[in-house]
């Protein structure tokens, strides 16, 4: 393993991301000086706007590793910058309203990617309002949003998890507990139970803070 790869692994490089990418492009790409400067200019602008630059530079490295044309890489970079701007605007808007943010760059990064993958902006707004109300960190509600995304991939549309996640956050439940509850919903789906009724039971059970109550009521529903 080379010294540079060890640095990359542990994130120990003391170089700024923009300087690092300049060196990387000179060593690893066949881009012209002008093309390299164009990419670096984009990163400097993003840096000035307080966007997650190291992530942007990783997209450039990925493009180079995948042997993509300069124009493809520039297009990806511009799209990512636009997404991060959108995420930053949302994060800053809710920060002004009193949402606690421990790591702004990380929050912008995660939210930008969630929105890009189709996470509904309205759902984030809903969670952010709850976060302000209950003094929950932005990073924690993003964890819930990621969970919603994961469930959406596992055949739970946002419309089925939105209310449950909201109720659970209001009760300050942790993601593993929420996952356990959602697993009951999934099992009910497999058993062919009326999902609307199951959802109501789940939400009521969250209100009561009683998973066993939820299980019993779903079983009762199944035996009818």
């Amino acid at each position: 393993m080379t010294a540079s790869s060890v640095q990359a692994l542990t994130g120990a490089s003391k170089e700024k991301p923009v300087d690092d990418i300049a060196r990387f492009l000179k060593e690893k790409s066949s881009f012209t000086e002008e093309q390299i400067n164009t990419l670096i200019c984009r990163l400097r602008e993003a840096e000035a706007e307080n966007l997650p630059v190291s992530h942007l530079s990783n997209r450039i490295k990925e493009g180079v590793a995948k042997k993509r044309e300069f124009s493809d890489i520039l297009q990806v970079l511009d799209r990512k910058i636009a997404q991060f701007r959108e995420a930053r605007n949302l994060v800053e808007k809710f920060a002004r309203k009193g949402m606690i943010i421990k790591e702004k760059q990380y929050s912008i990064h995660v939210l930008g990617e969630l929105l890009e993958m189709g996470y509904p902006e309205d759902d984030f707004i809903n969670l952010a309002n709850i976060a302000i109300l209950r003094k929950i960190k932005c990073e924690d509600i993003l964890g819930m949003a990621k969970l919603q995304m994961e469930l959406q991939r596992k055949e739970f549309p946002f419309s089925e998890t939105r209310e449950i996640i909201t109720a659970a956050i209001l009760k300050k439940m942790k993601p593993p507990s929420i996952k356990s509850i959602l697993r009951l919903l999934r099992d009910a789906k497999i058993r062919g139970l009326d999902i609307e009724k199951v959802r109501k039971i789940v939400i009521e059970g969250i209100e009561k803070n009683n998973i066993q109550w939820i299980k019993n009521n779903i079983n009762t529903l199944g035996s009818k």
Binding site: S4, S5, L9, E62, Y106, L142
Partner: protein, 203 residues
């Protein structure tokens, strides 16, 4: 294969420790048994929780252990006085450190906290492949630095990483890029496919 037989192998199967013959039987059974598929999915999620959970000893852990050791010392005084000098405070602290280490190692399963760096195990099933490597934000997307080794039907490697959010992909036979099928998160990479995401910060 019956459900009962599968359940006795399920943990080994998730950990990639079953033989290729066992894998064939298990996968054939899974295709026809929704109940076992559910069981497998449960254990896979359980593994994710274990990966996400950071187990830390309670704040009074050291103090409690030292108090218990003092009691043990007092009891042992009457039995084996000859060993008493060996249980000095220094030895007690070493013992406490050893206990803490063993707890964190056994509870984390995959990620072994050591300072701020964690060891992450990458695993992918690619039975036909002759080489597999992993490239991502953690190694400048270099396809050569981290090659996986074949073990019991799976390709595996471990990498020490700092907390962060990393995109990555597996490279099969040096040319086919695939996202980790077992990842919790995926993101469109803009280059016509999706990257798996490993978030060691927001867990």
């Amino acid at each position: 294969m019956k459900c009962r037989n599968l359940q006795s192998l399920i943990q080994k199967y998730i950990d990639g420790e079953t033989t290729s013959q066992q894998n064939r039987f298990i996968e054939a059974h899974l295709r026809s048994c929704p109940s076992c598929r559910l069981e497998l999915s449960f254990w896979k999620e359980f593994e994710i929780y274990a990966k996400e959970e950071k187990v830390l000893p309670p704040s009074n852990f050291t103090q409690n252990i030292l108090q218990k050791l003092e009691k043990v010392q007092a009891q042992e005084k009457y039995k084996e006085p000859i060993f008493l000098p060996a249980l000095s405070l220094g030895w007690a602290l070493i013992l406490v450190a050893a206990i803490i280490t063993s707890i964190s190692l056994s509870a984390s399963l995959i990620m072994k906290p050591r300072a701020s760096v964690v060891t992450v195990r990458f695993k992918v099933s690619a039975p036909e492949a002759s080489s597999v490597s992993v490239a991502g934000d953690f190694n400048d997307w270099d396809t050569c630095t981290h090659r996986l080794t074949r073990e019991a039907g799976y390709w595996k490697t471990s990498i020490r990483l700092k907390p962060g959010r990393y995109h990555y992909m597996f490279i099969i036979d040096g040319e086919e890029w695939i996202p980790d099928p077992e990842a919790n998160e995926y993101v469109d990479n803009g280059y016509g496919s999706i990257n798996a995401v490993l978030d060691l910060k927001g867990t």
